[in-house]
């Protein structure tokens, strides 16, 4: 991994140097110079997940609140990102490569904010629908498109991951060239806000297996009928819900075996939205005498945490708008 990172960075550096040379060589009248730093940066190998942040978004100081303390050589980095001719006293910068990494950091952090706003979400939707981010490696997600996702909003913690809306899980990008891309440049919120905004791309939380045998006669109707989720704020796409069942010589491996299935719950979906209501906010079955009795003292800390977290999404859209203003 470390090797991959170095390769990546050195490749970026090389390309940046080329860019510098170009900038020096050509004047602003030549056609090549119409390539801005931003579009050049987004075209680098490994930067396919980035969308182009508009210059007016970067020029609005409100959008940059707090970032100047995180990026060294702020002014110079801004000039580089926005293709502004540097000041006369630029000579005091020890090394151009330092400014280059500052510019990358600046752009990445602005990008994290930009893709939460309306224009950024739209730009990412176009990339999503074009399949730029790839598909889920899980077989039974049947090639569901994924979106980039960070595990932290602070740079330097972890590299970019891919979130699959069908299995609600995160994956390592298949190519090592993404191992040099910081996950914070996409952030933890982006994928989930994205699928709140574009619900028609978000798979619903329930799934009814197509009825076998009768498949030829009656069920074409439900399959043809447009899918709808009774929850208008939920995912409006038909989910790919099949869960793998391990078999030995055609026989299901019993869950009573030591090596039996233990993780099917992780991918399981109820057949209908109503079934989700059978579990209360603490994660307990409602009206389930058989198993309810052993869980009588309801002071489970984990369950309380779930409650706190679960209800907070009503304000999301208004919050996302704020980023843009």
């Amino acid at each position: 991994m470390a090797v991959g990172d170095e390769d990546n960075i050195s490749a970026v550096d090389d390309a940046m140097e080329e860019q510098e040379e170009q900038d020096d060589g050509y004047t602003s009248s030549t056609p090549t110079s119409t390539l801005t730093w931003i579009s050049w940066f987004c075209s680098l190998p490994g930067h396919e997940y980035f969308c182009e942040v508009t210059e007016d978004f970067i020029e609005d100081d409100f959008n940059l609140t707090g970032l100047n303390s995180m990026v060294p050589f702020w002014k110079e980095a801004m000039e580089m990102v926005l293709d502004v001719e540097p000041d006369e006293d630029a000579a005091k910068i020890p090394d151009v490569s330092i400014v280059e990494s500052s510019a990358e950091m600046l752009y990445g952090l602005v990008h994290q904010r930009y893709i939460l706003g309306r224009a950024g979400q739209q730009a990412m939707l176009e990339k999503y629908e074009a399949g730029v981010f790839g598909t889920c490696p899980r077989v039974y997600c049947i090639g569901c498109n994924v979106v980039p996702c960070g595990r932290s909003d602070i740079p330097g913690i972890d590299t970019v991951k891919l979130f699959c809306p069908n299995c609600n899980d995160i994956y390592v990008p298949p190519s090592s060239r993404f191992q040099g891309v910081d996950g914070a440049f996409f952030g933890t919120t982006f994928p989930h806000l994205f699928f709140q905004n574009y619900r028609e791309s978000a798979p619903a939380p329930f799934w009814k297996p197509p009825t076998r045998g009768a498949g030829s006669t009656s069920p074409p109707n439900p399959r043809m009928s447009p899918f709808s989720n009774p929850n208008p704020y939920g995912g409006q796409k038909r989910a790919a819900g099949y869960v793998y069942v391990p078999r030995i010589y055609g026989f299901k491996v019993s869950e009573r075996a030591k090596c039996g299935p233990r993780m099917q719950w992780l991918r399981l979906r109820p057949e209908s939205a109503e079934e989700l209501e059978q579990v209360d906010w603490r994660g307990r079955w409602i009206e389930d005498d058989e198993f309810g009795s052993e869980d009588e003292d309801g002071d489970d800390p984990r369950m309380l945490e779930d409650f706190d977290d679960g209800e907070g999404d009503e304000d999301e859209e208004s919050e996302s708008e704020e980023e843009e203003v």
């Binding site: 298949p174 704020y233 995912g235 989700l276 999404d313």
Partner: protein, 298 residues
């Protein structure tokens, strides 16, 4: 092993550079998932029962695999025979890897990570095992089974993505964990690189099992305690971070330790997803309770 490394240099279908067809086949690019089938297994016709109906030019293909093909015949059929030999070897391979000796060879490959590692972030690069979705050739390509999340993934490389799943079969990974329960991956912690690890880890596991044993008078309380433990211990340093759950240990409640990703918007869980995840965890808890009750009874 050194033989494979040497033969990496040989290219093309010309088998002059390799000692045998099998070693050439195994060393050519894209065939990394296959293991070597012992010659006496192939030579025992009982093991090949029925394959003559599956493979055209069965006799010559078998001769080619076992390096007994006349050079003259090879000239006439060369192109198609190579494909038939691959098919035959694949089908023999599917039978071989569910024998005791075949499983042992595949365990070695598994421990080396020859089949790749799980792309799921929270599986922490758990080594994978190849598996077919059907046992009939020409139906579905090979998939990879992760013993930690117990799910299937497509191979990263298209070289491997085009291998027939029937060459590994639907049974293999599950039989492997049935025969070698000691290498069932734990649900928590990072898999240790390299094997032969785990004196200390095994002790930790044994101690853990002591605490978990004496099953089930108050399973709910114990579950909460375990979850508390998990919250305190970061993923890497957890006990049981060996390359398997260990022999003689219960796996009834391992699922409680499994990590999962929780989508959040500005730190808040997404309503519908959180609801689905609560439901899934309730299903999990119900299974754990059931298994613990069953275990207490035995």
């Amino acid at each position: 092993m050194s033989r494979f490394i040497v033969e990496d240099m040989s290219t093309g279908s010309d088998s002059d550079y390799s000692s045998t067809w099998i070693s050439w086949f195994l060393s050519s690019k894209g065939n990394e998932y296959f293991c070597e089938v012992d010659e006496d297994f192939i030579l025992d016709r009982f093991n090949l029962t029925g394959l003559n109906n599956e493979v055209a030019n069965y006799a010559q293909a078998l001769d080619l695999i076992t390096d007994q093909l006349d050079d003259e015949v090879q000239e006439e059929l060369r192109g198609s025979l190579d494909t038939q030999a691959r098919l035959l070897y694949g089908l023999i391979h599917a039978r071989w890897i569910v024998t005791a000796r075949g499983l042992a060879k595949m365990v070695e490959k598994y421990k080396r990570g020859d089949f790749g590692r799980c792309p799921r972030v929270l599986c922490h690069s758990q080594p994978l095992l190849p598996v077919g979705l059907v046992d009939i050739p020409y139906e579905k390509s090979v998939k990879l089974f992760c013993g930690r999340c117990e799910d299937l993934y497509s191979p990263k490389s298209s070289r491997h993505g085009s291998i027939d799943g029937a060459y590994f079969g639907t049974t293999f990974p599950h039989l492997l964990f049935l025969v070698y329960p000691a290498i069932i991956p734990p649900k928590v912690g990072t898999p240790l690189e390299g094997s032969g690890s785990t004196g200390a880890a095994a002790e930790g596991r044994a101690a853990g099992s002591g605490a978990l044993g004496g099953a089930s008078a108050s399973s709910a309380r114990r579950r909460r305690e375990r979850e508390k433990d998990d919250a305190l211990i970061p993923d890497s340093g957890a006990p049981g971070a060996g390359d398997g759950v260990g022999e003689g240990l219960s796996t009834a409640s391992v699922a409680l330790k499994a990590e999962r990703y929780r989508p959040k918007i500005y730190g808040f869980q997404v309503h519908e997803t959180a609801k689905l995840q609560r439901w899934q965890e309730a299903i999990r808890d119900r299974q754990v309770t059931k298994l613990e009750v069953l275990e207490a009874r035995t």
